[in-house]
């Protein structure tokens, strides 16, 4: 794969992951455990959706095939989506959402930090803007990891269950594939952030009183290449319904 093709694949992974996470935040609307969390989650969701749009816009420009960001978000199917598997997991209870976001936020922060130094200026610019948001996201989800981990017996149990259920998907945060390695080599992509991710997660787990599982290893599923869990199809069916039902409409 040449660098251009690799780049659009890479950007779609970033974009789709943001998009799918934002969609899961939409599902929290009106269901948050407190009004303050209602505001905070909508805020994080907005940030991620905004970042998704920035990445999609760039992909659309690079591809230059007449399809815009909305097309990329609303007209690609479950085999074409490139999001990380962890993003598409159901929102579950607040412990699941907390663990999910925490795992993602640590990764996201590391990736955006590196991308601010990408040789591709457009990427560096989008990353710099996103990094401020991601820094806040990471702080917020880390705080909730501590609150739930150290809070009550129930919150500790729920968080432990959530970690157990989600952990296997973290292999996608620590491993990279050829596309990612190739772009890192070229000074464009963030490359592998596995070591830093594991260190930060271990630090927070220790503080939260959580047991750190063995590193997750790759299994059959592969979100980065469109092999998703069964949850994604339902998420897209709902999210894409209107653009699919009214293909000629302008909203």
């Amino acid at each position: 794969m040449n660098n251009d093709q690799a780049l659009t694949e890479y950007l779609l992974r970033l974009a789709d992951t943001d998009m799918v996470l934002a969609q899961r935040f939409c599902e929290w609307c009106g269901n948050a455990p407190a009004l303050e969390e209602e505001v905070a989650m909508m805020n994080v969701g907005l940030d991620l959706l905004g970042q998704a749009r920035n990445w999609y816009d760039y992909v659309a420009e690079l591809r230059d095939d007449g399809h815009d960001a909305d097309f990329l978000a609303f007209r690609r199917n479950e085999r074409e989506y490139r999001n990380l598997l962890i993003a598409e997991q159901p929102r579950g209870d607040y412990a699941v959402t907390t663990a999910k976001q925490f795992f993602f936020d640590v990764w996201h922060h590391l990736v955006l930090t590196r991308l601010t130094e990408s040789s591709d200026e457009r990427i560096a610019g989008i990353a710099a803007k996103g990094l401020k948001e991601a820094t806040y996201h990471r702080r917020r989800s880390t705080e909730w990891m501590l609150r739930l981990g150290q809070g009550t017996e129930e919150s500790h149990r729920r968080l432990t269950d959530a970690v157990q259920n989600l952990w296997r998907f973290t292999c996608e945060l620590t491993d990279t594939d050829e596309i990612e390695d190739q772009l890192a080599e070229a000074g464009i992509g963030a490359g592998n952030v596995g070591d830093a991710w594991r260190a930060e997660v271990a630090r927070v787990f220790a503080e939260a009183g959580l047991e750190l599982p063995e590193p997750a290893r790759h299994f059959y599923m592969d979100g980065k290449n469109g092999k998703h869990t069964e949850h994604l199809g339902f998420l897209l069916a709902e999210m894409q319904y209107l653009p699919r039902a009214y293909p000629d409409a302008t909203w």
């Binding site: 939409c26 009106g30 269901n31 909305d70 609303f74 609150r147 150290q150 209107l242 000629d248």
Partner: protein, 310 residues
């Protein structure tokens, strides 16, 4: 009238804001708590009919706008509950009253949102009506409420323009199906929006006292007429019609005449015989109940932190 009451009324009459630590009549306090809490509840419950389409918003732009709007509404709820708490009321208690059905929220939010066009209609008509109601509240005699309203009104105007723009885009650039959706949304939200101003003043027993206290500055019918007068030209500009055969410009009065409001529906809704008021409260109650363990954990953690720091 006691000296305190007289002094209070003089301040009100002189347009001096009443602040939390000032003396105020019990009735004034209670009226404000009721009004502000209903207002706060309405912001929070009002997130739900819009939240219903958030996961199905049809473009990135519309999804971003709707998320931002809903976030603003949650924020409004927060300021308003804070304003209410300055009067000595407790947010959690008031929310429990809402969940037990002892206090109301704006009846408009018991209507279902059935198509995407409803997001436009709510922004334009419902937020539009809310603004007409709320603009005078920026000068409400109670300081914290007045200040909250200034902030709220600014954001609501923005929402209203966005809502109108949703409809305008569908009417100007949309397909026939989309245009039908717009007209259908207007048909469903037209009368309920007019009802948002409440029954005619002669049927609103508390109005006179609220006027004297400068909590309220205009009669319901006056505000309704103001809303209608500003809305009908926008309706025409959209190229849509109202579901009211009696709606027409009256040269003599300089206002639009309109048909009779079916108040039975309004009173039915108030009595709980509403389209989906039950679902709204069930959802809110479930959110708070399901979140109990989260809030407990946060409190326990904070307590531990405090103990460790000590």
């Amino acid at each position: 009238m006691s000296p305190e009451e007289r002094h209070f009324q003089e301040k009100v009459d002189a347009e001096v804001r009443i602040e939390p630590k000032n003396w105020m009549p019990d009735g004034y306090r209670k009226t404000l708590i009721r009004q502000i809490s209903q207002h706060a509840h309405s912001e929070i419950v009002g997130m739900l009919p819009e939240g219903n389409w958030l996961s199905r918003a049809p473009s990135l732009k519309r999804k971003l706008q709707l998320m931002a709007k809903i976030q603003d509404e949650a924020g409004h709820g927060l300021y308003l509950y804070s304003a209410m708490e300055t009067l000595g009321a407790d947010r959690d208690e008031e929310i429990e009253k809402l969940h037990r059905g002892e206090v109301k929220f704006s009846s408009i939010f018991t209507y279902p949102t059935l198509t995407w066009a409803d997001m436009g209609a709510i922004g334009w008509l419902v937020d539009g009506a809310a603004i007409v109601n709320q603009v005078p509240l920026q000068r409400c005699s109670y300081g914290p409420y007045s200040r909250a309203m200034i902030r709220v009104c600014k954001e609501e105007s923005f929402h209203q323009r966005q809502g109108y723009e949703i409809l305008l885009t569908m009417m100007r650039e949309g397909t026939d199906e989309q245009k039908e959706m717009v007209q259908d949304a207007i048909n469903r939200f037209w009368w309920p929006s007019l009802m948002m101003f409440g029954p005619s003043d002669e049927n609103s027993p508390n109005s006179a006292q609220s006027m004297a206290w400068k909590i309220k500055r205009h009669g319901n019918d006056e505000l309704r007429q103001r809303f209608l007068d500003q809305t009908v030209p926008q309706l025409e500009f959209l190229g849509c019609t109202a579901p009211d055969p009696d709606l027409k410009w009256n040269e003599e009065t300089g206002h639009y005449d309109f048909g009779e409001i079916q108040w039975q529906e309004f009173f039915d809704v108030l009595k709980g015989h509403s389209p989906c008021g039950v679902e709204r409260i069930q959802q809110r109650k479930k959110a708070i109940d399901d979140g109990q363990w989260v809030r407990d954990a946060a409190v326990a953690y904070a307590d531990k932190q405090k103990a460790n720091a000590a």
